[in-house]
């Protein structure tokens, strides 16, 4: 057997690396590079405390979460429905593959002006951008999930008398739950990116707005603090989906085995 470093020691080394990085940053700032350009960890920590204790940050977090969350839900709904339909219609799926592939490779952020043209300014175009950002991940994963359902399973249900609709309800839907969850975990950071980019361009509040207004005011501490908040939210969102997703989708986590939940 190969000896491996125990977990606590790996964690310790990771902490040391982090400490060296933050310490170096703190030390360099104002000595060699002006704090204006790179801020410094102590200022970011101070600002974080300030924003949370004064409550200043909460409306911005809420605004971004609303856009990202609603966009993710709509993107999931559309992606799952399309994924099931094309997963069950292989010939149609193959026919559309080049078109879908092309659409997937397109930089979807570039669609922001188009989305604005369609929906005007405000909440709706920002949600629409998040839908665009998340749809494909959900679609492709759902379709892969449907295609991975064993033919024997479907055949055995059909012989027992199941209609096509019953096969979808009793076999397909439960089989794709782990695929949907995995896709949502991948899509959650994309949803946040989509929401923040939209806010950077047209937001009047939210974390994206905070990033532009801080940077514009030469307040890099504010920018970095916002980025820290975004990162933490992203991590929490992924964890929440992994922990509570199975129950929300009607499966107990222990029956998912090997899927999204087991990875956490």
């Amino acid at each position: 057997m190969i000896e491996r470093a125990p977990m606590w020691r790996i964690r310790l080394y990771q902490l040391i690396v982090l400490g060296v990085f933050l310490g170096g940053w703190e030390w360099v700032s104002d000595r060699y590079i002006r704090t204006l350009w790179i801020s410094k960890p102590s200022l970011i920590a101070e600002r974080t405390l300030e924003w949370f204790s004064s409550g200043f940050i909460y409306p911005h977090i809420l605004a971004t979460l609303q856009i990202a969350g609603l966009g993710l839900l709509i993107g999931t709904a559309i992606g799952v429905v399309c994924g099931i339909m094309l997963g069950l219609q292989r010939s149609l799926s193959r026919l559309l593959d080049p078109i879908l592939g092309g659409a997937y490779t397109m930089p979807r952020i570039a669609f922001l002006p188009v989305v604005l043209f369609w929906f005007g300014f405000g909440f709706r175009p920002m949600v629409a951008l998040v839908v665009l950002m998340t749809f494909f991940v959900l679609f492709y994963n759902t379709r892969a999930g449907v295609e991975s359902v064993k033919g024997d399973l479907v055949a055995s249900m059909r012989v027992m008398g199941a209609t096509r609709f019953q096969v979808i309800r009793m076999v397909i839907l439960p089989s794709i739950v782990p695929f949907i969850l995995a896709a949502m975990m991948i899509a959650a950071p994309y949803a946040l990116v989509g929401a923040i980019v939209a806010e950077i361009f047209i937001g009047s509040k939210g974390l994206g707005f905070l990033i532009v207004s801080s940077t514009g005011g030469l307040d890099l501490t504010g920018t970095f603090t916002t980025c820290l908040v975004v990162t933490v939210i992203s991590l929490i969102a992924t964890l929440v989906i992994a922990r509570h997703g199975p129950r929300l989708l009607g499966r107990s986590p222990e029956t998912i085995g090997g899927g999204a939940a087991a990875a956490f």
Binding site: S156, V159, M160, G161
Partner: protein, 262 residues
């Protein structure tokens, strides 16, 4: 009654057309326990799939109770070697699946399911998921699920092939015990000659591909059969040797044929 007349079916494999069965005919009477035996790839499973309506013949006709099979045949129960249990359902949930499909009222389901669980001796494992059960237990769940809606005909495609030899014996006995009460028609595909003779009323031997019938013999051993003694009885050995002589020839020439293909 199952009436298969002049049926042909082929498959594409690596761009080549392979005949699974060609001009194949077979009649199976109600209540008969028939074993289909033959070398691997001789079209036994194709025949079962056609009776179940999962495959349509290219030529000829498959009739079930006088009606041609043109769609999925829901009067049969089909148990394959592959494990087709739903992994997210418990033992109870899996056994109850056909009842859910048939919209049997909830009040009746529980009673039927617990009866079925008792029949296959799975008491105490009602709430277990398939991955918490042993191979033999999973087969029992499959068996209970197949029997619970009382299909007229059971199609069994090497149902116990994945089990070890001892467990296989136990499951064969269980099957016979349950069948002796239900008395449905059984079409049992196997390539285990001892198994075929021990459980069936009639043995149909397939040729190598494309499958034809080369031998069709009744098994005149008394029921209920005692597995401990039956296998050393002179009738059994006579039958075994008779069938083996034919089967051996087919297996050998199938082997040679697939050797030439390479």
């Amino acid at each position: 009654m199952i009436n298969i007349t002049g049926v042909s079916k082929s498959f594409e494999k690596d761009g080549q057309k392979i005949d699974a069965v060609k001009d194949f005919s077979l009649t199976i009477n109600d209540g008969e326990f028939v074993a289909l035996i033959g070398p691997s790839g001789c079209g036994k499973s194709t025949v079962l799939n056609m009776i179940a309506g999962l495959l349509a013949p290219e030529e000829g006709v498959v009739e079930y109770n006088g009606e041609p099979v043109t769609a999925i045949n829901t009067s049969v129960g089909y148990m394959t070697q592959k494990d087709s249990l739903l992994p997210w359902r418990t033992t109870e949930g899996n056994i109850s699946a056909p009842l859910d499909i048939r919209r049997v009222p909830k009040s009746q389901r529980a009673a039927l399911v617990s009866q079925a669980i008792e029949k296959v001796r799975l008491g105490g494992f009602e709430r277990h998921h398939p991955d918490e059960l042993s191979g033999g237990m999973r087969k029992r769940v499959l068996l209970a699920r197949t029997l619970i809606y009382e299909p007229d005909t059971l199609l069994m495609d090497e149902p116990f092939a994945a089990l070890d030899a001892l467990l296989k014996l136990v499951m064969q006995e269980e099957l016979l015990r349950i069948w002796s009460e239900a008395r449905s028609t059984v079409v049992y595909v196997t390539h285990d000659l001892t198994e075929a003779i021990s459980i069936a009323d009639r043995i149909v031997v397939f040729s190598k591909r494309p499958g034809r019938i080369v031998l069709d013999l009744p098994v005149e051993l008394e029921r209920p059969r005692d597995f401990d003694t039956i296998r050393s009885s002179p009738e059994f050995l006579k039958l075994y040797n008779r069938v083996w002589a034919t089967l051996r020839h087919e297996v050998v020439s199938q082997e040679e044929a697939s050797g030439e293909g390479r």
